[in-house]
């Protein structure tokens, strides 16, 4: 495979073309890189990744974009440890270097944001200070000093961030650079100065990589693919900089989520853009390796991109490597189908959030928790295990128990595996979720799990090692429902969307997560007249972390879904509903033939009386795929005496959270 062939990058050579790109993790200890970082990167290196770019470090104290954003002057020790660990496993290591400029935060530094011009940040509306010449000189010097330190610590080189959250891009773009001095007259000057200063600091033997936003998706003043190609050629042609490689991304102040969108955007969306830039570099006689980024999570697409598709020379598969750290090893072993799929859900890997969540993955909760969680595949068990319930939690428990050597039988009362995930995946734009159900089923079968569909477990079977993962039931309804009124749960509706009675559909969404919205989109796409009711001020209140908040609202508006905010569902009658304004208390009546309740569900308590069983997933408390996998995995480990149980529920004891 071309994907697994070596790639020369300036003075270095990556053993293959699969890269773990720079991304925020919140794994740091204060502003230093931590042991958790080392373990996180080492795990990917050990499984064969070609090159790793360490989480961006701020190159100057004026930049503190999130609380645990690494600060270059505190990173030398961490860079050294990461470089040593990953070199030992055969990966190249670059240090990510950045300054977020006007897209940072003044919350932590308690000082003004620095930016080329006084353009307010689109989301926070914070107005930055325009940088004076000595500020510019200080940041250029910061880049050079940080790069020298990273290389001295043993990194193979550095990557300069001119992507969606970066001062370098802000100088390049007409959106954010409105200066009338030499840094505005020549918008490339700052980037050029940074690159030249770095090269001068690191010498010829280290790699200098540039991560460049090549489409700001704001053509009225922003970088477009055409102008970005010129920028790329100009920067790469700068002889005193000798940029060794270019990573092509997109996005800017108006579209930060566009760089790493969730599954509503097609996989590999950026490959054509990468090709445009790569072709331009070739045509200009500066054919440095181009690395593609952007929801590249499928092995076939990745191979095509670097092979026949001729889109790029290498690919960042960052989220895919969160879902399966052993992706490269599995592909190398000729078993690409065994790679655990990334769902592009962004649920737990997007960590730009004031609460400082640490990076992890819904389908591999050990990601980011390498120092907390045992490797579930290591260890030997034996004996018979019965798993009741073939949803995500049950299948993960069965998979892990079987891989550890148990004889596992899984019984599922319906005729299909996947449980609540199957219904969730039938929502609009959520189809990719089904991939984890399919993978789990295939892994279970491969590991020898005996699967019995269409059968309920009987009480007599509840002896020996039993995992109960029977899921959830419809939740309570906190509104009155008169006779002949039609109310469906979101699960019922998704299971049979055609079966909803004709007429207006009203979706009651007290959660603001993806379920209510995907049901609304699904129904609207089928031509139904749809109302979405939320008690919040914002529709899809919980979607900001995954980056889908603004896109979801735009899709709903465009689909003609009528949004009723600040409203509480009080009564459902035949043909109508009564809503109450959350603040004024006023009630109003809306016509609706059917109400879909997208609210919280309740645990299935069928087996609550069973003693000595291990319980996992929604039957403990209805939550998401993430908790189902985590608990299912822990349930299997608990059978081997690992961890502790409370009320039959396996509990972790994370030191770091």
């Amino acid at each position: 495979m071309k994907l697994l062939s070596p790639l020369a990058i300036g003075p270095a050579t990556a053993r293959n073309r699969v890269f773990f790109g720079a991304h925020e993790t919140n794994l740091g200890a204060g502003r230093a890189l931590s042991e958790r970082h080392v373990a996180y990167y080492r795990r990917r290196a050990a499984a064969g990744v070609g090159m790793i770019v360490v989480e961006d470090a701020s190159v100057h104290p004026s930049d503190w974009p999130y609380e645990r954003a690494p600060l270059a002057t505190e990173c030398s020790q961490g860079w050294a440890a990461i470089a040593a660990a990953c070199h030992g496993e055969g990966s190249l290591v670059l240090a990510g270097l950045s300054h977020a400029g006007g897209q940072g935060s003044s919350a932590y530094s308690q000082g003004p944001l620095w930016a080329p011009s006084r353009v307010p940040e689109v989301n926070t509306r914070e107005v930055p200070k325009w940088m004076e010449p000595e500020d510019i000189a200080a940041v250029v010097e910061g880049f050079a000093a940080a790069a020298a330190a990273a290389v001295a610590a043993g990194c193979d080189g550095v990557q300069v961030n001119a992507g969606q959250h970066s001062l370098v891009r802000q100088f390049l773009s007409g959106l954010t650079n409105q200066r009338d001095d030499e840094w505005g007259g020549d918008r490339l000057r700052f980037a050029g100065d940074v690159l030249v200063a770095i090269r001068s600091a690191i010498g010829p033997d280290a790699v200098l990589s540039l991560r460049l936003s090549c489409d700001e998706l704001a053509p009225w003043a922003g970088l477009t693919p055409e102008s970005a190609a010129q920028v790329a050629v100009a920067l790469v042609s700068e002889p005193d900089a000798r940029v060794d490689t270019l990573t092509v991304v997109r996005g800017s102040i108006f579209s930060v989520a566009a760089t790493r969108p969730d599954g509503h955007t097609e996989a590999g969306f950026n490959l054509d853009l990468a090709a445009t830039i790569r072709d331009a570099l070739s045509a200009a006689g500066t054919p440095v390796p181009v690395i593609a980024q952007g929801s590249i999570v499928d092995i076939g697409q990745a191979e095509w991109a670097v092979g026949d598709g001729a889109r790029a020379d290498g690919v960042e598969m960052t989220r895919a490597l969160l879902a399966d750290a052993e992706l490269v090893a599995k592909v190398a072993a000729g078993a690409p189908e065994r790679v655990r799929p990334c769902l592009l859900c962004n649920q737990t890997c997007s960590v730009r959030d004031a609460r400082n969540p640490i990076v992890t993955c819904v389908v591999d909760p050990r990601s980011g928790h390498e120092l907390d969680d045992p490797d579930e595949s290591v260890g030997r068990g034996s004996g018979d295990v019965l798993v009741i319930g073939g949803g995500v939690a049950g299948m993960e428990a069965a998979r892990v128990a079987a891989r550890r050597g148990h004889n596992v039988r899984l019984v599922e009362r319906s005729d299909r595996l996947g449980g609540a995930l199957r219904t969730a995946a039938s929502g609009s734009g959520r189809e990719r979720l089904a991939a984890i159900a399919e993978w789990l089923e295939s892994e279970c079968r491969d590991a020898g799990v005996v699967i019995e569909l269409g059968r309920s477990a009987s009480p007599e079977e509840l002896s020996g090692d039993v995992v109960v993962a029977v899921g959830s039931v419809q939740g309570g309804r906190e509104y009155t429902v008169t006779r002949a009124a039609v109310v469906r749960s979101a699960a019922e509706l998704l299971a049979a969307p055609e079966a909803a009675p004709q007429g207006d559909v009203l979706i009651w969404d007290p959660i603001g997560g993806p379920i209510g919205i995907s049901v609304a989109e699904l129904l609207a796409s089928k031509g139904r007249s749809v109302h979405l009711v939320t008690p919040d001020n914002i529709v899809g209140n919980e979607l900001s972390r995954s980056g889908d908040l603004a896109p979801a609202n735009a899709r709903l508006h465009q689909a003609g879904v009528q949004l009723h905010r600040r409203s509480i569902l009080r009564a459902v009658k035949k043909g109508s509903v009564e809503l109450e304004d959350r603040f004024s208390g006023e009630r109003r009546t809306l016509r609706a033939a059917v109400v879909v309740d997208a609210g919280h569900r309740l645990p299935d308590t069928t087996f609550d009386a069973a003693v000595g069983v291990v319980r996992a997933g929604d039957c403990v408390a209805p939550r998401t795929i993430h908790e189902a996998i985590l608990e299912g995995r822990r349930a299997a480990l608990a059978l081997d005496g690992i961890g502790r149980l409370s009320d039959g529920v396996p509990m972790g004891s994370s030191q770091h959270g």
């Binding site: 204060g30 919350a107 609460r355 959660i511 609202n553 465009q558 603040f583 009320d647």
Partner: protein
């Protein structure tokens, strides 16, 4: 010290407090990433002890690993906290002030994000903020919770605390059990009030057993959850009677609201009347003989004394008042109440930072949370310099204060006839008036420090140079900007012009909110009060997008509804042609129009930076602070002024 009751001592079980002012429990986010108490904690509490607080109650200590709702929570369940406990209690005891530890398990008011374990609660009822269905705890788990409280209580005793408070009020598994809204159990922990109170009474037993008779034990109860089907005052009084009947409890603290559903009523901003929750201690005190603590926007000693005199409570919780001024008690007691840096109840840097996972500070007190770093402490200079501050807004005044504190000779020149800059204007809206205390406090501090403030003096660079100051701090603020789409259309003005009285919009008014805080909404209210028909338009998803941070969103919506103010979102102004305002609905690209009589703009201002650059060019030693660097909020101005002034 006119306050007779406020300064009288009181016995709380085995502990005697010197006065009735309590620094009640509140989140600080000072704990480390690993849940340990910090040096920041110790210095913060010690400062309030030194300032004369009668009693300090720490923020909550979690009693069980399943309870980790926010990152920087003290993990009382970890034995390693003990050193931090001793550091705090030693620091506070040095001032002869008693300190209690508050113990808690937040129950269902949490998520599993940090703990990676199911959230524990009486019943699988999702909290409206965290939106995660909890696991209903089994009897064995209830026993484990109780054991957790007892263990941590004993650890607190070993760590030197003088008492324990059980948070059973606004964010607690105990509240979860007490409240019919969240307790749907059918065993003997659910149903009747006696059953719902069972966990509380078992905890009282276990904790008293763990700490023995030498420590005080208190219970903090919620008097009204302000939610549907929740606890109201009648049941709270009943629970207080049960608590007293145990004979093991020494005092009762009170609160109002639920931290996640009705938080805006727990830490009410200036839009809610001072003393708004006093009915709760009042009703409880009428029913029990134990000392009762009242809380809820007690702003000054006179108001506090009045609550005691009227018999509403025995002690008064003053939290934000002592965040703003650690010497709240000492100043009042010594007859210098006027010197108090009065809290504004703005909620910007105290409450407002908690939800953002940042350490607690204060909009007007740069020392808060930075006590251990020496911020705001006088370091008298041996070589006093002549300092000229240009501009008497919050940035300039704070620079003057910080420089004068260190012994420099400071003159402030202000172009206007009054101090305060934008804060003065913002506070001219009637229901934002308390914001003006920021300026009054600064001016009075300037006066005490001997700062000379000259009004009506406009300085150009030549005049500054002529005065030959040793140091200049430019704090000239920012000037209103006209948005690009406005052209030279008439009947369009900035919010400042409305507040200055330069413009008087009438009839139908569109207010454009491009700032997202109180700027647009407060002017909209002012105009509605004057009889205008007002619509606020924002390009974002909500008008006043940051009002939620300071707990002002709910009350804004309630007032806006009552005043008939319309709100429209996701609309971007594109052009104003002959009185027709054209707006693009950006999610769909559709154009809509408005034809108001007036348009009022709340848009970012332009820094008045010319003087700064001229003085630099002239070679003077000059700094600039506040909006003339970049237009931001008051705290940025104060903190920058403090830094520049302290650096003189």
């Amino acid at each position: 010290m006119a306050e007779r009751l406020l300064w009288s001592p009181l016995r709380i079980g085995p502990v005697t407090v010197a006065n009735r002012v309590v620094f009640s429990a509140h989140l600080t986010n000072y704990a480390t990433q690993d849940g340990l108490p910090s040096e920041q904690h110790a210095a913060y509490y010690a400062e309030r002890a030194a300032g004369g607080a009668g009693l300090i109650i720490t923020e909550e200590h979690s009693t069980h690993p399943t309870d980790w709702p926010y990152e920087k929570l003290i993990h009382g369940f970890k034995p390693e906290v003990l050193d931090g406990y001793r550091r705090i209690t030693d620091a506070v005891h040095a001032h002869n002030t008693p300190i209690f530890a508050q113990l808690n398990h937040n129950g269902g008011q949490a998520s599993s994000m940090f703990s990676r374990n199911p959230v524990w609660a009486p019943s699988p009822v999702a909290d409206p903020l965290f939106r995660e269905v909890p696991k209903a705890v089994s009897r064995a788990e209830i026993a484990e919770i109780i054991e957790g409280y007892a263990t941590v209580a004993a650890r607190c005793a070993a760590g030197g605390f003088d008492g324990i408070e059980l948070q059973c009020s606004h964010s607690s598994i105990v509240r979860g059990f007490l409240s019919p809204a969240t307790n749907r159990r059918i065993d003997d922990y659910g149903g009747t009030l006696v059953n719902r109170a069972r966990l509380l009474l078992e905890l009282v037993d276990a904790v008293r057993h763990a700490i023995g008779p030498g420590l005080a034990l208190g219970v903090r109860l919620c008097g009204d959850e302000l939610i549907e089907g929740g606890t109201t005052i009648e049941e709270a009084v009943e629970v207080a009677r049960m608590v007293e009947a145990t004979g093991q409890v020494d005092y009762i603290n009170t609160s109002i609201g639920v931290a996640t559903a009705t938080l805006f009523m727990i830490e009410a901003s200036m839009h809610i009347t001072p003393g708004y929750a006093t009915f709760i201690p009042s009703a409880i005190r009428a029913a029990v003989g134990l000392p009762v603590v009242g809380v809820g926007r007690f702003k000054d000693p006179i108001q506090a004394e009045r609550a005691l005199e009227d018999g509403h409570c025995d002690l008064v919780g003053v939290v934000r008042g002592q965040i703003a001024d650690a010497e709240f008690v000492a100043k009042a007691r010594s007859g210098h109440t006027d010197d108090t840096r009065l809290c504004l109840s703005c909620n910007q840097e105290c409450v407002g930072r908690m939800g953002l996972n940042r350490w607690l500070g204060c909009i007007e007190n740069p020392r808060t949370g930075r006590e251990s770093q020496g911020v705001g402490k006088a370091r008298l200079t041996r070589a006093p310099r002549e300092v000229l501050v240009v501009g008497a807004g919050p940035a300039g005044l704070q620079a003057a204060i910080a420089a004068a504190r260190n012994g420099h000779r400071v003159t402030v020149c202000e172009r206007e006839g009054q101090p305060g800059g934008q804060v003065r204007l913002a506070a001219s809206v009637p229901n934002r008036a308390e914001l003006g205390d920021l300026v009054r406090n600064q001016v009075s501090e300037c006066r005490r420090l001997g700062v000379e403030i000259c009004f009506g003096v406009t300085l150009d660079s030549a005049e500054v140079v002529r005065r030959r100051p040793d140091k200049v701090v430019v704090a000239t603020g920012a000037v209103a900007a006209r948005p690009w789409w406005a052209g030279d259309a008439p009947n369009l003005c900035d919010i400042r012009e409305v507040l200055e009285g330069v413009a008087a919009p009438s009839g139908s008014v569109v207010v454009i909110d491009e700032i997202g805080f109180h700027h647009a909404t407060s002017v909209a209210e002012l105009l509605a009060d004057r009889g205008c028909e007002v619509e606020v338009i924002a390009s974002g998803m909500v008008v006043g997008q940051d009002l939620g941070i300071t707990l002002d969103m709910e009350t804004w919506w309630i007032r806006a509804g009552a005043k008939g103010i319309a709100q429209s979102t996701e609309l971007v102004p594109m052009a104003l042609v002959e009185g027709v305002l054209q707006l693009q609905h950006h999610p769909t690209g559709q154009m809509v129009e408005r034809t108001p009589d007036w348009i009022v703009c709340a848009v970012p201002a332009v820094p008045a930076e010319q003087l700064y650059f001229e003085l630099r060019a002239a070679g003077l030693d000059v700094d600039r602070v506040g909006d003339c660097v970049a237009p931001r909020r008051a705290h940025a101005a104060v903190i920058e002024g403090e830094r520049a002034g302290a650096a003189v």
